[in-house]
């Protein structure tokens, strides 16, 4: 009895076939942090090699060293409240307001589309058609309507970001299982009660998926708005840097745009984890408390 247990557990006792089988999964045996760092280092090395061998002009493709130096300068500028800090703050405002507006508008429209027959039959086809348009093409229109200031960028961010929220909210409301709806019907639940106590909470994982997409899209919207509509945000700074062939600065500014998007995404993901303790990802919490 004990012998068989040892055979099962001892790696030294593995047969040749078993060893082959496990050998195919070497990546599973490396800690994930190590594989991420190794791959990152490899990509940096590749970048350095391309820049060093000057396959592309050094001006068009600065190497990692110059870029990190520029990133350091940019960081100092931001910390000391220079013009990049101002640009970052403007873009942050555009992204935040655009995202919040997209979240509210997307949620309200999503509930209308997902919950009413009229919404599903009449509103949704228009939204699908509108969503199929290249939304970036509307940027000049928004600049014409809302000027060169932050407003046109906020509208652009809202316009690009709110579709996923609508679609996911509506999909979430439709995904409520038939038995649960029948249960609520059998309890003589009003439509409002069913929406509030069953459908909306059930739809939350979907809604959060839409919000996470919207968080990323709102950054896209704000930057596209700045590319095409001027102003003083990071997008405008990137455009100017690229025009003067300061590609190292472009890279440094893009890093900050990425951080902005990641923080917004992270906040939404954190709120999701707090609110949806009952959904998949809470498995770790159970182990923690138990």
């Amino acid at each position: 009895m004990t012998q068989t247990t040892q055979v099962q557990l001892g790696p030294a006792e593995m047969s040749e076939a078993e060893e082959l089988w496990y050998a195919g999964r070497w990546i599973d045996r490396v800690p994930q942090s190590v594989s991420i760092i190794v791959l990152g280092a490899a990509m940096l090395g590749f970048w350095w090699l391309i820049a060093e061998l000057e396959f592309v002009s050094r001006i068009l493709l600065p190497g990692p060293a110059e870029t990190f130096e520029e990133l350091w300068d940019t960081t100092q500028n931001i910390v000391t409240g220079g013009h990049i800090a101002e640009g970052l703050w403007i873009t942050t405002q555009e992204v935040l307001v655009g995202f919040l507006a997209a979240a509210v508008a997307g949620f309200v429209l999503g509930v209308i589309v997902g919950e009413t027959r009229l919404g599903k039959r009449a509103v949704m086809p228009y939204l699908v058609a509108l969503n199929a348009l290249p939304k970036v093409a509307f940027a000049p229109v928004f600049v014409a309507w809302f000027g060169f200031g932050v407003n046109s960028k906020i509208v652009m961010a809202l316009f690009i970001a709110f579709f996923p929220v609508i679609v996911d909210t509506a999909a979430g409301l439709h995904a409520v299982d038939a038995d649960s709806q029948m249960l609520f019907q059998s309890m003589e639940s009003s439509r409002w009660q069913t929406l509030r106590k069953l459908k909306l909470p059930s739809a939350l994982p979907f809604i959060f998926a839409g919000l996470k997409t919207a968080a990323v899209f709102s950054v896209v919207g704000a930057v596209v708005g700045e590319y095409l509509g001027g102003g003083h945000g990071l997008g405008e700074l990137i455009r100017l840097s690229a025009q003067t062939l300061r590609i190292d600065r472009v890279f440094a500014l893009i890093v900050y745009l990425g951080i902005l998007g990641l923080i917004l995404f992270g906040v939404v993901a954190w709120a999701e984890k707090k609110l949806l303790f009952w959904h998949k990802s809470e498995i770790f919490e159970i182990q923690g408390t138990g």
Partner: protein
Amino acid sequence: MTESTDRVDRAGQESRPVNDEVARIADLSKTFHRRGLKALDSVNLTLHQGTFTSVIGPSGCGKSTLLKIMAGLIPASSGEVLLHGMPVTGPRQDIGIMFQQPTLLPWRTTLQNVLLPIEIRSGSDAAQARSAEALQLLELVGLEGFDHVHPHELSGGMAQRVAICRMLVTGPAILLLDEPFGALDELTREYMNVELQRICRERDATSFMVTHAIPEAVFLADRVAVMSVRPGRIAELVEVDLPRPRTLDMMTTPEFGALVRRVRHSLDMGTDAGGQA
């Protein structure tokens, strides 16, 4: 005590008191016009206080439709269901229902899930006031101490016990069970059947269960209604006179086997007729 003697009396003498009729299905038919499908054709059945009726039939025989009409979830095309003499025209508080899936709300605790029907009908305060009762029900199904646990921490069998409590909390006159343990593994299912029998006996519940497992139908029931397909109608009523409480061991006795064979035979006749038509 009095309840059990009552039961013996009832079993002893053949005649039932007239007033122990709980529900009556009278000449019930259902046609789905859009699909041109006659799902139910002149179904008649009377359910007496404290009895367990199993309904079995091939898929598409309309047994789930029948249950939904009894629950007031969909209307009948003709005929009616009377519950305590009152026609069922919509969902009612005195009808308890349970599905194959526990359909617990994962963001609510066990206790909050049990109290949901009260909260929906009478508000949060009323639900709060009935907590003690809900806790007693959890004790009845053997879930003492699980009141503040969320559904994802419960096994499938435990989740269905919570669903039983939620069905019982409004004190329904009739329990409608739609393949209640169909999603559970075989061992849990047998155990839950024994538990369901115990709970029904303790509460003197009048139950109506739809299933497609013959042994389960026979094990739980006082009567098995065998349905035939297209149009759905009750082909035969098989009386199950096995003594109660029934144990899993009984399922190996010749008497049990004979009843299972009889139900199967009746089912085969129904499907054959349907196939030839």
